[in-house]
Symmetry: C2
Subunit: 185 residues, 2 copies
DNA sequence: GTCTATATTCCGATAGAC
DNA sequence: GTCTATCGGAATATAGAC
């Protein structure tokens, strides 16, 4: 992929996380990169094309990250995931899922499908991590692993939303309590 | 308040919950009510005025609901709150907090302040409910009540977001596991 | 309080030159 | 691959008649 195209996707990713998909324009991308909106349209004819690319890159990033953690104990894998959210919190970002879920009903079918693909991938990974972690006595929780995965995902997602409104300490308090719940016997 | 004004706020509330604040227009409100966009502007000169009113009505609704539950045991008060979210889930709504937190950075200062006021009110009530519930042995959880309040709020908030993307069963699985966590000893 | 009409701005998108 | 120029449409908002 060309350098400009990369920068466009990176800028779009940032804008989705800070302002939401429907609240940024091609101009918001073009101006900081010192190009014209027509150049953005050359790489991504429609805004939905850009949205799909942002999601696809996020899916790849998630898959390559989790693959790198594969050899770690499950509690440490989970801590790595929390660290990803911690970093976003420090940058004033919300997560892609949270941002795109809010605007979901306004999306074209191809974008909706991509969002669902991303959600399913994260929940699947989390469910498997929890199941294995419980088996290996690295993680402790009650109930079904897939329900717990949904709970943890919702905690991480909303921790960034609440941090934005209530101050960044909200993230830390949620993340700390979350890991404590899962790691103490 | 006039009847038309009430209908406008109700319609705006619905649109915020289904499409997001930045993704609906005065036309989306005026058309279904069979009035013109100028009539909406008469009641709410700027869109932010309408946003503030929607939030204020939600705060009042929350306060009057929780006041009605005051005599109930804390676990039942919590179940009542979950029921409010369950109803929204059935209607395809996300919660105001979730929707407005996503768009937060795009809001004018008066609207941002109102969102923060709403968030603080909900967390305060939840924290108090949890504290009293633990004291009365109706609710069981580890750690500080205010951290647990943030966790529960994030679960409820994101349960509606995830339901939208992954199907409405996501809400039920999260809500059921949540109440089970808190109610079993 | 609601209307018609319009001002203004911005957006996504495209045509065609370079 | 990027530009200038522009189209068509939609959004927020206002002026003034009724």
């Amino acid at each position: 992929m060309s350098e400009t195209k990369d920068k466009i996707v990176a800028m779009a990713d940032r804008l989705v996380r800070t302002r939401g998909f429907n609240a940024f324009s091609y101009k918001d991308i073009a101006d900081p990169l010192d190009i014209k909106n027509a150049a953005v349209h050359y790489h991504f004819p429609a805004k939905a094309d850009l949205g799909v690319e942002v999601i696809e890159q996020e899916i790849e990033k998630f898959n390559s990250s989790t693959a790198k953690w594969k050899h770690l104990p499950e509690d440490e894998q989970l801590a790595k995931l929390v660290d990803v959210f911690r970093k976003h919190n420090g940058q004033g970002n919300i997560c892609l899922m949270g941002s795109l879920a809010t605007d979901f009903e306004t999306f074209s079918p191809p974008m909706q499908t991509k969002v669902q693909e991303m959600a399913n991938g994260i929940v699947s990974w989390l469910t498997n991590c929890l199941e294995q972690g419980r088996k290996n006595k690295r993680l402790h929780f009650k109930g079904a692993a897939d329900a717990r995965a949904l709970i943890i995902m919702s905690n991480l997602q909303s921790s960034l939303l609440l941090s934005r409104v209530m101050g960044p300490s909200a993230f830390r308090r949620i993340a700390d309590q979350l890991m404590e719940d899962l790691c103490q016997k």
